[in-house]
């Protein structure tokens, strides 16, 4: 081997030493995976938990739910997660200070859910609270955001009965919103909130509560822009979903048209929903056309008296279900449009801008004042395709 080749080999070996490994490596066993984040008002804290803060005040308590990594143990261990918390003003500063409470770095790439307590939202806008999570490249865009009237930290300490890690359990609940018309989960994640916030829209966030170790998701927290103004119940959520056409399935219950003590239940399988703006001179109004297709899912009462094979009976049911859907939409319209006076997620404004841009250009500056008085004409048609596998 001549000198040139030897020199080349030496250079190659040196280079391979230099380029081996990666500056950005983070070993799995050196990470603390955070699964859920809770934001509460700062309460009484032990001095050791927090830090000396030269500026601002101790406004918030930030709690992080961390996955326990390690040997499985003897199976008696109740929770797969533990919670640490800190108080302060800046979330980033609290997170970095919390490194004093852990032996491994905190890793936010797997955060599934952020829970914010109502008490915090009464003081601070949602945009301000979520800024850190929107800005940091480590965060997931699709992490779910919930509001609770109680304490967010308690929800992080909740141990799911199926032994799933808490954050994953809490996050998965909302993923079932497609089958649960009482939960609005489609546009309430971090990316959607950032999107609607940039569009100056009125935001909505799913509500989660824990009472006596029972956790339940249902209802919505409503925001005027990003300021919290109150909650709506599950029936209103159903109406809102019908307006958006965001439901994939729904259960509609009505008293039987022929026997008022009986209950008939409709299971929605498919729908075609169209919300359209109309402009007639200076008058703006909207039409909501809903066509629903589904089955009879359940009948409560003496089924011998209700002949679901009678076409006339089925026709009567279809009309009754259509009336019930209409009632639900009107109920939510009454609360959202008339009482709270918010166009949630700018649903109506977006339609007007999209289909009547000239009119939108004229009214966009006064939209908040105009919107509560804009008429909505609702038309619902229900088709029962099947009565189930029994009469």
């Amino acid at each position: 081997m001549d000198k040139k080749n030897v020199f080349g080999c030496v250079i190659l070996i040196c280079l391979s030493i230099l380029i081996a490994g990666c500056w950005d490596r983070r070993e799995l066993q050196d990470r603390n995976f955070i699964l859920a984040v809770g934001i509460d008002m700062a309460d009484v804290h032990t001095p050791i938990e927090t830090f000396t803060q030269p500026h601002g005040s101790k406004r918030y308590r930030l709690s992080l739910q961390i996955l326990k990594l390690g040997a499985g143990g003897d199976g008696k261990e109740k929770s797969k997660t533990y919670v640490i918390s800190n108080t302060g003003d800046s979330f980033f500063e609290m997170v970095r200070d919390m490194l004093g409470q852990t032996s491994k770095s905190l890793w936010f790439e797997h955060v599934q859910v952020i829970i914010i307590s109502e008490a915090v939202l009464r003081q601070t806008g949602l945009g301000e609270l979520l800024d850190f999570f929107k800005r940091d490249s480590e965060m997931r865009s699709r992490m779910h955001v919930y509001v609770t009237s109680g304490v967010a930290k308690s929800l992080l300490e909740y141990i799911p009965p199926n032994k799933e890690p808490g954050g994953i359990y809490l996050s998965n609940i909302v993923d079932l919103h497609v089958k649960n018309v009482h939960v609005a989960g489609k546009r309430t994640d971090l990316a959607s909130l950032a999107l609607y916030s940039d569009n100056n829209a009125n935001l909505v966030v799913s509500r989660i509560e824990m009472v006596d170790k029972v956790v339940k998701l249902g209802g919505l927290a409503i925001f005027k822009k990003d300021k919290f103004i109150g909650y709506v119940d599950e029936d209103a959520v159903a109406g809102i979903k019908y307006m958006f056409g965001s439901e994939k399935s729904a259960i509609v219950t009505i008293p039987c048209p022929d026997h008022s003590d009986h209950q008939v239940i409709f299971e929605l399988f498919r729908h075609d929903t169209r919300l359209r703006p109309h402009v007639d001179g200076d008058t703006i109004y909207f039409t909501l056309d809903i066509n629903m297709y589904g089955n009879i899912g359940e009948l409560q009462g003496d089924i011998a008296l209700d002949n679901t094979m009678d076409p006339q009976y089925v026709n009567n049911l279809e009309s009754a279900f259509a009336d019930e859907i209409k009632r639900t939409v009107l109920y939510s319209q009454q609360i959202i449009q008339k009482k709270m006076r918010v166009d949630i997620l700018n649903l109506f404004a977006t339609k007007l801008k999209a289909y009547e841009p000239d009119t939108w250009a004229k009214v966009k500056d006064q939209w908040d004042e105009i919107y509560p008085d804009i008429p909505l004409i609702i038309s619902v048609n229900v088709s029962i395709r099947n009565i189930g596998s029994h009469k």
Binding site: S141, A194, L195, Y355
Partner: protein
């Protein structure tokens, strides 16, 4: 043994692929925000207008190149503009590539550091990419052509496939109102898409490699196909960004394409955080653009100073490119200013220098024809 990499002939189709490879690169991440902020809902119309405008510019370059079938701009510019004028044109031409290269390097450095390697200083990311691109640019044209062709089929397919997953979050209503009545804004937006389409200027260097018998019509047809593909690709990027994020949201994020892909969740799969996959597919695309542009710069210097080899020039340009990228890296104001001037220099070259060169060449020919009787 003959050097098989020193290629002296390319087909018109290969020319089309090289133009696409040079043009489509880093700007799919870097440009959309500014375009959407300027033109808003009509950004997609500006992309189409831009495609047409710069296709016309490319045709003018083809016409000019056809006047001098054996020469590149570097050889015939002094004949058209005189020694001083020719030098100005050649410097202008090379400055175009230089400004684009440093802009791309600093933009890519920022993106990769922020989204992939947050502990690696951007200076190191840029240096590593510069080394790889320089290595490619040091090769002969045959190798670069082969890299461009391979990347055309591999990297662009990967990039498009990853990008198309964002269709899952597409909301057609975000595109409405579809048509903008602000014609002036749409046309000025069309000109501002130059960074996306830029790179077609390489035609003035590569045309002598295309077979002399290839007619202008054939070349214009191939170039039409190339610009059609690029327009479709950029349309796909801009339409999906607006359809997923809305105009208002896209205006507020520095790199909307990454935010779009970051929001994608593939149900039932373990694949997540798709921005990393998109970046992995994007880096080879950026590499082909940068390697080609550095090669063109080396070629311009080689021909201008009458060297037989472009390699010393490529190596000499490396420190300059690195320094330029560093200057733009931490100074957003400088980056914006340089981007603005690059746009003017680019559009000015395509619609000022090239038409003027064409007119001068016709005038020269007429003069020579008149003398010959």
């Amino acid at each position: 043994m003959a050097n098989l990499e020193a290629k002296t002939y390319i087909s018109p189709l290969q020319l089309g692929i090289v133009v696409i490879g040079t043009c489509v690169g880093a700007q799919i991440m870097l440009s959309p925000r500014a375009l959407i902020a300027a033109v808003e809902q009509a950004a997609w119309q500006s992309v189409i207008v831009g495609g047409v405008i710069f296709y016309v510019a490319a045709c003018l370059m083809l016409k000019l190149g056809k006047q001098y079938p054996d020469q590149t701009l570097i050889e015939y510019a002094p004949a058209l503009f005189g020694r001083l004028g020719g030098n100005v044109v050649i410097i202008w031409f090379n400055l175009l590539f230089f400004l684009q290269i440093i802009g791309i390097f600093s933009g890519v450095g920022k993106i990769i550091t922020f989204y992939m390697f947050d502990r690696t200083p951007p200076e190191v990311v840029i240096l590593a990419l510069l080394v790889v691109c320089t290595y490619c640019a040091l090769q002969d044209w045959g190798t670069i052509l082969r890299v461009q062709q391979i990347m055309f089929f591999v990297a662009y397919t990967m990039l498009t496939m990853v990008w198309m997953t964002s269709i899952l979050n597409f909301q057609p209503e975000n595109m409405l109102p579809l048509w903008s009545i602000k014609t002036k804004t749409v046309i000025s937006g069309g000109f501002s898409t130059w960074p996306m389409y830029s790179g077609y200027e390489c035609l003035l260097l590569l045309l002598p490699l295309v077979h002399k018998k290839t007619s202008f019509a054939k070349l214009a047809q191939i170039m039409g196909g190339a610009f059609g593909c690029m327009t479709l690709f950029f349309l796909l990027i801009v339409i999906v960004i607006i359809g997923v994020l809305t105009v208002e949201n896209a205006k507020n994020v520095p790199y909307p394409a990454l935010i779009v892909i970051r929001s994608v969740e593939l149900p039932g799969t373990f694949i997540e955080r798709l921005e990393n996959y998109l970046l992995v597919a994007w880096i080879p695309v950026v590499f082909t653009t940068l390697a080609a542009m550095i090669f063109y710069m080396g070629q311009v210097c080689m021909r201008h100073y009458r060297y037989v080899d472009h390699r010393p020039w490529v190596l000499a340009l490396v420190p300059l490119i690195y320094l330029g990228s560093m200057l733009l890296l931490d100074d957003q104001q400088a980056y914006d200013t340089v981007s603005k001037y690059t746009l003017w220099i680019g559009v000015g070259f395509s619609f000022g220098v090239v038409p003027l060169s064409l007119m001068l060449s016709w005038w020269h020919r007429r003069k020579v024809g008149a003398r010959c009787g």
